[in-house]
């Protein structure tokens, strides 16, 4: 079954304490893996697209990496304003159609 699993479900960090969020997937025909940030009461905000294993993208304190079965979102020296839910989504092809599957997200809280 096509599936996207994120871990941990929730994460509390002290300001400056680096960590990683995980997104594992079991799909065939990967067309892209996306990371989004979602703040309460708002729609997801696009962060990164990764297309192939070994690819890396960086933006400020965030770095996303991709392997054949999972992606990591590394947060270096986080600040309280990085607190949000981080969602990953997989875009893949199955039975001739294209699908997007989202994980349930990791709720990140960064304490000052």
């Amino acid at each position: 079954e096509d599936q996207v699993t994120q871990s941990p479900e929730a994460l509390r960090l002290q300001e400056g304490e680096s960590s990683s969020l995980n997104c594992s997937y079991t799909v065939s025909g990967l067309r892209g893996l996306f990371w989004y940030r979602q703040d309460p009461g708002k729609g997801p905000e696009f962060l990164f697209t990764l297309y192939s294993a070994g690819e890396e993208k960086e933006k400020e304190r965030l770095k996303a990496t991709l392997t054949k079965k999972e992606s990591f979102l590394h947060i270096t020296a986080p600040k309280p304003e990085d607190s949000a839910t981080y969602l990953c989504a997989v875009h893949h092809t199955t039975s001739g159609t294209y699908k997007y599957i989202f994980g349930t997200g990791t709720r990140l809280k960064v304490l000052a």
């Binding site: 996306f34 989004y36 729609g43 905000e45 696009f46 875009h91 294209y98 699908k99 997007y100 349930t104």
Partner: protein
């Protein structure tokens, strides 16, 4: 506008009422998606449009749900005879490219929070 807009932002309906939710995508974006998001969950796919063509409606939970994009820009999601289980946030997203191709990252609107009493 610069981003995806949705209206209304909040909608309260009595059970059995019909509702219509509107989405204005980013100008020039070919693809448009509707998602349903329950509290604490990730978005669940409902339907996909490429221009005015509805290419995938496999995620619509019942025949009470109907979506259209008649001129390939603005889209409306209609829910007939609303039920309590329809209560959720409905998100609209658009992307520049076609599903399966390049530039397929999606840009989301703020969502419409639907509460069915």
């Amino acid at each position: 506008g610069a981003g995806v807009s949705q209206s209304p932002r909040y909608k309260v309906a009595k059970r059995g009422q019909d509702v219509a939710l509107r989405c204005d995508p980013i100008s020039g974006h070919v693809s448009l998606f509707w998602y349903q998001q329950a509290l604490g969950q990730g978005p669940e796919f409902l339907t996909y449009f490429q221009n005015e063509a509805q290419l995938d409606k496999s995620g619509l939970p019942s025949d009470r749900f109907f979506a259209e994009r008649p001129e390939g820009s603005v889209s409306t999601l209609k829910i007939q005879r609303t039920q309590q289980e329809d209560s959720a946030v409905y998100l609209c997203a658009s992307s520049l490219g076609l599903a399966g191709g390049l530039y397929n990252e999606q840009f989301f609107g703020p969502g419409t929070r639907l509460t069915v009493l």
